[in-house]
Amino acid sequence: MLCQECNERQATLHFTKIINGEKTEIHICDVCAKEKGDHIPGSKGFSIHQLLSGLLDFEQPVSHPTSQGGTSRREALRCPSCEMTYDKFAQIGRFGCADCYKTFQSKLDPIFKRIHSGNVVHGGKVPKRIGKDLHLHKEIEKRKQELQALIAKEEFEQAAELRDRIRSLEKSLAEKKEG
């Protein structure tokens, strides 16, 4: 497929941009991507992010003429750790810190779906040291849900057994944290 900007080179970047509900396919080559990316001051070499920002900007830009200068809904999304706003994130296409992922949580699935062929949940490696705790947490959460289900079904004998199991899991998690 040829680049839609120069019609000369092969398009190497492909993405879908949605503005005001209108879907547009973009196919562009590296050279044109680089040229387009040079608009952000002090960001040479980050052309991909400029392109990404087009991809992130799937919501209508905040231009509602609010009379009393009321803050818009999107502006209210601001990461408490690094001060990054969702607007800024959508503009530059980069997170400011790990907590941004939590702050913008409700908006991320469609973005990740688009970039990662529909995937939104990690399926790979888990760090060894931190990961051990995560596995325990996960199991405790799962057991607690099972416990609720058993109680709802009034199967108290099994529920008591499960509760003991959860307690011992919580104990080993606590020991790990101290150790």
Partner: protein
Amino acid sequence: MSLQQFISQAISPWMKKEGPNSDIVLSSRVRLARNIQDVPFPMLASTESLVSLSDRVKSEYSGHSHHRFGTIELLNTGDMKQNEKRVLVEKHLISPALSDESRAGAVLLSEDESLSVMINEEDHIRIQCLLSGFQLSEALKLANEVDDWLEDKLDFAFDEKRGYLTSCPTNVGTGLRASVMMHLPALVITRQMNRILPAVNQLGLVVRGIYGEGSEAQGNLFQISNQITLGKTEEDIVQDLQSVVLQLIQQERAARKALLEQSRVQMEDRVYRSYGILAYSRTMESKEATKRLSDVRLGIDMGIIKDVSANILNELMILTQPGFLQQYAGEVLSPEQRDQRRATLIRDRLRLETKKDN
């Protein structure tokens, strides 16, 4: 410095080892992006916290020995001269961004330069393993080991649902970018790249010319890498890339065979013309050098040229970059001077080959 000495210093030891399928796949690379918990990503972090990270990595890892890579040293980009950094960029050991734009940027390097860990680039940590030939699984294995080694002492930002958290949403999850550099002259000559590129793109892989663009890639060198980092295991990502690379290898081999059978004289003519130009020119732009070197390398791989080592393409592609030319000259060069130096260096390098025979 003699040319031989210069080459032995300039070419990373990992490049001198011949990897599998190295007639088509020049190198394999795996990169893992990692960040440190509770420190904002480098774009927003205070310079203080970035300096403290690179200091910490230095004290924990620099000068230490890794059982696979031997001694690892940390270099601060702030302590390096402009041309020293440029040389590392041309060797693909650091990125231009780390060289020119990072605050408190640093790199951990192994002696054979097959491992480089960039500190404070777009992410806090970027582990990179480079191997010659087609060795993606091996590169992933090594990168994983280094990841574990670093995770021993550093707390990485990791989320159960999203995986490793990165500055750019295109890297989240595994933080893995696997890529190969392929020499595909026969597919270009037979005009098959235009058909192949979109198909490879459709599979969620990215193809780009290393020097130049798309199907017009200079030197017929293409980098193929994964686009998706979230939702698949590292092994699956690498395997998906591998299977496409294997198909490309087969198609390139078939195209080379067909060219030899159907147009041997034209191929010989093309290869020897390029060889002649490389052997006798007095000034040469990098674009032409890349093109001619690709022809000669193809000639070597097809058995047309017999007394020149196949390494010559990889070697001269790096040696004739501006940073290396200036390092060899020991001074800053104008573009015209570079073109002359480039032609001289190539002639001298080819002469080394003929000397070897005697």
